[in-house]
Every structure is written in C-alpha cells, then in structure tokens.
Symmetry: C2
Subunit: 323 residues, 2 copies
C-alpha cells in the first residue's frame, strides 16, 4: 500500500514527495490524498463516512445550552512552522477560542485546505498531525473538510480555513458593549509571545530568542472565569494585540480604560524583540490570551482561579474603567 500511494505524489530530485495539481482535480489522486492523509490524520467517525456534510445530533447540543455559536477564521501565517506551534495549531485553536469567547463549549470544526502545488507531503503531514493534536486537546472533532490545490505561485504554500460550532450555556451573554465604569480588565498571562515569535523567525531575520507562541485552547480558562465571576466582556487578543481589543471595548461600551503599564505582563525576551524591531508589545498578536471585563468585586477571585491553570500563572489585573 505504501508503494501504491507513492505513485500519486510527484517526487522532486531530492526524493521528496510533493503535492501536485492532480491532488485537487477531483480524481483518484485527490481521493487518495483525502482518504489516506487527511481523513486518516483527523480520524473520527463523522469524517470517515466521506459524505459531503457531517450530521450531528441536535439533542446532544441542546443538553449543553440554548444557543449555537458559529465562527470562522482563515490562517495565512508565514512561516508555516515556528517555535511553539504551526499553522495547524493556530487553525484549530483560533476557531476554538473564537467560540470559547462567547462562553460556548467548542464542539465541531470544519477544515478547508488551500495547498500550493509543490508543498512537501512531509510538511503537510506534520501540520495535519498538529491539527489533530490541538483538536484532541481542545475536545473538538474535525467533522468536515475540503481540499483545493492551486498552481505554483497562486498561494503561499498553505492556507487553512476552519469554521466551528459550539453551544453557549443558558444565561451566558458576553458582549463588547457591556463594559461598565467600575469594572476591571483581566488578562490571562504574558502578552505578545506569539507575535514576537513569528516576527523573530520570519524571512532572513532569525533572532535567537527562547520565546514561543502561546497558541492553545482557552476554553478551560473561560470555564474558570465563568465559575468565579460575572463576565461583561470577553475577547481573545489576536491580530492587533491587546491594544486593539481594549479600544473595541472602550468604543463599544463608551468607557475610558486607563492602563497601568507596569501591570502588563510582558517577558523580557518579548520586550527585547520589540525594541530591536520597533514594535509595541500591546499591538503584537497573541494566540492564547484574552481580555475579560468583570465587576471589580469578582476580580480577585477570578484572577486567583486563572493563576492555578497551566499557562495562565501570570494572569493579572490590567486596568480600571472610568466614564
């Protein structure tokens, strides 16, 4: 079977199996790529049906809450792999976290791959394995997918889109417009790790740092928050960093947010990368950080609960809200 499979991947002079346009044609090569690589990597009963849509019991969903959360995100990161993760880890956790930010339990994801002709099969396999690992860790299943191959130069190696659904428990309703004067802002740990990592490994510039992407599922941390505090606003600080999210809260809710600069947890390595590249850690992307706005009286309890979770030990109060 390994021999048969080999026939369907073009080999370059270095004997590396690569994706070819035939893998996107709808024919046998595509079917083999989908069945032997993608469905096998994600292995779950929904995908292995090879139907054009997953079919999910609604009765199981209604036991978890009263609203379906639904979201999507496309991932176009360069480089594809970096310390602490890769585009696959991002693609799963990014959508998982967009669901979790509504209080939803993330449940099912779809995965759309756009592969540039010439991508090595080994790279694709590593990224699919990362997606499966991230999905298992987040407790979600990748239940439906689509694969396109575009000609060399028409895409940057690999783009991944994920969409996801989850269920929001009754009574949970966080919105960017719900911040109130007197509330406080909580962040769940070090700021800027992901952005600094990607910047430090991009292109010709390879800085020697120990910093790693913070990419991970935030659902457990959201659960800890929901158990310990009323939540007015909750958003993960991805593109645009914590500064952009704070601006969204302030504008949507009509409040002033005074940041205590000394309270913002930023690693020395991240400050170093920022100084070298002229960046501001508050605007760097994160992939495992959220900002929560909660009533002042619940804040200490919430921060204490977060600090007990692995990865969230540096959770901190960032700011108070004024009119």
């Amino acid at each position: 079977m390994a021999l048969q499979q080999q026939q369907f991947f073009a080999e370059s002079s270095e004997n590396t199996e690569r994706i070819t346009l035939a893998h996107g044609s709808g024919g046998i090569a595509m079917r083999q790529l989908v069945e032997r690589e993608i469905v096998a990597a994600f292995s779950n009963p929904h995908l292995s049906q090879l139907e054009d849509q997953a079919r999910l019991d609604l009765s199981e969903l209604t036991q978890l809450g009263d609203r379906l959360a639904m979201t999507t995100d496309s991932f176009v990161v360069d480089p594809l792999e970096f310390p602490g993760g890769d585009i696959g880890t991002l693609a799963v956790n990014g959508t998982v976290n967009d669901l979790a930010m509504s209080g939803a339990r993330p449940l099912y994801l779809t995965c759309g791959l756009i592969i540039e002709e010439g991508l090595s099969l080994e790279t694709l396999r590593r990224i699919l394995a990362s997606m499966k690992k991230a999905a298992d860790e987040a407790g979600v299943a990748i239940v439906s997918g689509d694969t396109k191959v575009v000609h060399r130069g028409a895409a940057d190696k690999l783009f991944i889109n994920t969409a996801g659904v989850g269920v929001i428990p009754q009574g949970m309703d966080f919105r960017v417009s719900q911040a109130q004067p007197g509330d406080v802002v909580i962040v769940n740990g070090w700021v800027g790790d992901h952005g600094a990592t990607v910047m430090a490994t991009r292109g010709d510039l390879v800085l020697d740092t120990n910093v790693e992407s913070d990419c991970r599922s935030l659902y457990q941390e959201v659960c800890a928050l929901m158990c310990t505090s009323e939540i007015h606003c909750l958003r993960d600080a991805t593109r645009g960093g914590i500064a952009t999210v704070l601006n969204e809260f302030a504008e949507s809710s009509g409040v002033r947010i005074m940041l205590d600069q000394s309270a913002i947890p930023v690693r020395d390595e991240v400050r170093g990368v920022c100084e070298l590249l002229g960046l501001d850690p508050l605007y760097l992307a994160n992939e495992g950080k959220f900002l929560a706005i909660v009533p002042e009286e619940h804040a200490k309890h919430a921060v204490d609960a977060l600090r007990k979770l692995p990865g969230a030990e540096q959770s901190a109060l960032l700011a108070e809200l004024n009119r």
Copy 2:
C-alpha cells in the same frame, strides 16, 4: 463619508481603489473594510453585532429536524467572474448545496475571504453583492466572517471559504452507500454547463458560446424530490462531474450503474466546447446539478415534479442499477 473612506484604499494610476496590506492588519483600515464593505453588503443582525462569533437560537433549529448538517468548501476559481455567476455565487451555492444534499434546510453560512493585495475594490464589491443575492435566494444568512489580505503573489486575487449549517428533517438519511439493484438514477437537467463555461473563458482562450454556469441553490429541487420519492443517495456533481459521483455511488453501494448515453442531457454548445478542448461532459464540473438514486417505482413521479421547477426542465432518468 465617501471621501473619508477613499483615504483607506490605495489608488493606482488608473484611479482604481485597491485593497492594500493595511486592510488585513487588524487596524483602522481593516475595520473600515469589514464594517463599510463586508458587513454592509451582507447586512443581517448577526453580523452587525461585530462579535467574533454568531449566536443562534437552538430552539429554532430543533423545530426543523433532529440533526445539524455541517460542511465547508473553499473556492479558488479562475476567472473570478464568468457568464452566469462569479466566485461569490459559487461560494454561497456550493455550501448551500452540500447541506441540501443531506436533505437539510440550509440556514447559516460563514465567509472567510483571502484577498490578494491589489484586488480592485470594485471587483470585491461586485462579488460581495453576488454573495448577498445568492444567500437571499437560497434563504440563508452569512452570520460570521473573517478577512485576510496577503501580499501580491501570495494568492490568486481572491479565495473564498464558506462553511454552513442546516437542519435535517427527522427520517431523512441519504448516504452514498444506499443504492440498491433495481433503483434508478435521476439527474436534474443539463450536464456540464458550469465546467464548459469556465473552460471557455479561461486565460487566452475565449470561445464565443452562449453557455452559462448553472450555479444555483438546489434546496427547492431537493424538497420536490423529498415530497415525491424515497431517496437512497443524493450528491451534487461538482468537481469531477457526474462520472465521479456515479463512481462513488457504485463503489460505496457495490452496484453496477449502466448509463444510457443518449439519455444524458448535454447542450449542443457544451458538446462543442468539449470537442474543441478534448473534454468529456461527464467529467465537467456542475454547480447546479445533482444525481439522485431512488426506487424505480417513485422515479417517474419525481422527475415530473422536478421538471416543473425553473432550471430543472431537462430532468431525466439516466440509468438503472444492477448487481
């Protein structure tokens, strides 16, 4: 406001507003692109919340059936616009139809745009308007989205991913493995129109034909089928054409399908394009055609019902199944 907006789009020498990398940066230019162009084009109450996820009442879903259908598809078509549709029409109807093929009523879509720097804003606006029109015609809402801008040369103008959910009525359970000897195959009209249209307008080769893409929602036709017949298998014949779907039915169900070549509805123009380009209409992509496998005793009734629907007048019996 038109003046303000102008500032956020780069202008080329021909005075055309174009997408720039700033539109993907997470800053003000991106926010304006999302709010003024995308959210405005798709206008619905879910999107205008500008939350990172849509929140949908589960009680409304459970009234329609007992299972959630979930699917995704990425669209990478060249050219972006062609007679009878564009990448936006495809992106909506492709996912609507993947849902409808399970018997599901299509309800909610997500939309992930990957835009190449330099795409003209006019083109983007036309495509967003096509998506809105197709969504309205199919009775679905685009409730969540994501926009990325990649540097020139990193994507082919525009890629669109859509994911969707719908609800499958109780008792409906079509699977590719359920074809039985004695069943018959129905197609809902002209075969190969979409593939021939795209081939005839691609690159330097512009053939002068009247053929148009058949891209449209198939949900109404599926409803007509469900009302008139038991359905064993149902699949839309997109990439790979009707030949590929027939092969999937035959292999999954362990049946032989003998095609009556003279019964296959193919327009003369499509035959002409195929002869010029050395293509087989049975392998051409369709975007508004399905193959249904139904018990022989229901077939006439089903075909009669389909033929009354606009676009499906050429519905026909294609084949009988043997062991």
